[in-house]
Amino acid sequence: MGHLWAAFSPATGETVLLNDESASILEVLEEKGVADTAEISASLVVDSGLDVDALAAIVESAWPRLAEAGLVREQPIRHAIA
């Protein structure tokens, strides 16, 4: 318990325990408001020490679980008609 993070989701009414990796993704997202995988990965490159591509794969795989936990929501892609 000592090295985890706790987050309550009003969407699900559940409390979720996060590891540092999940918490850091949310932290970046909280700062940016809305961000995609590339932006999150770029923000974490220095702290994680991984290259951005490896990090992007990990971050991309994290979205389904974070969304399921009610912590993040995917922004629908809006197509502009020229």
């Binding site: 987050a7 009003p10 979720v16 809305v34 991309e60 969304a67 009610g70 912590l71 922004q75």
Partner: protein
């Protein structure tokens, strides 16, 4: 590329901390920087583990925990549904019934049990006012013409519905402790004050 945002408000998360029993935790809200805690070169898979309420879980599994050692089962039982009880009383002698009208709407197509207007006696006290448990009656009534009236307050019994839609039998809750498929602790699963099919 997935594009996301924080869901819900407030979007806050806190680092958990272990406290000693006698430690003052009133002014300790920890909200440090997760990125600083990352181990360089060892970015693990992000994990999110849902915490479940112990009390809710305990309530949910109470039926399992208290289930009977040797419940009565029949092949093909798939569903338990509740229906209201009707009572006829002749002094201290009473008989309780389930009515076809309450059960018919619960049966899937092809199911069969009671014919239109019929009722089955599922319990008696004393002599049963002339009725016997298990017997199916068409328009049961006392000699003076009194028809069964719904119990007040309403009591229910559970009926077992087989996979084919056939009613296998009736389980009386007052005798649930006596080796039936239904324990009284699970009766709230059928809860509510109104019978299913009063509409």
């Amino acid at each position: 590329m997935t594009r996301c945002y924080i869901d819900g408000s407030p979007a806050e998360f806190y680092r958990t901390k272990e406290y000693a029993v006698n430690e003052d935790m009133t002014n300790e809200t920890v909200n440090s920087n997760a990125r600083r805690r990352l181990v360089r070169g060892a970015f693990a898979a992000p994990a999110a583990l849902t915490l479940y309420s112990g009390s809710v879980a305990a309530a949910s599994v109470s039926c399992i925990a208290k289930q009977l050692t040797n419940p009565i089962t029949t092949n093909g039982d798939t569903t338990l549904v509740r229906v209201p009880l009707y009572r006829l009383a002749n002094g201290a002698n009473t008989a309780t019934f389930v009515r076809q009208a309450d059960i018919a709407s619960l049966m899937p197509p092809g199911g069969s049990y009671l014919a239109t207007g019929q009722a089955q006696c599922v319990g008696i006290t004393g002599t049963g006012a002339g009725f016997s448990v298990g017997t199916i009656y068409t328009s049961p009534a006392l000699p003076n013409g009194t028809m069964p009236a719904i119990t007040s307050p309403i009591q229910y019994v559970a009926v077992r519905v087989s996979a084919t839609g056939k009613i296998e039998g009736v389980i009386s809750v007052p005798s649930a402790g006596a080796n039936t498929a239904l324990h009284t602790s699970c009766w709230t699963s059928f809860g509510g004050l109104v019978p299913f099919n009063t509409a």
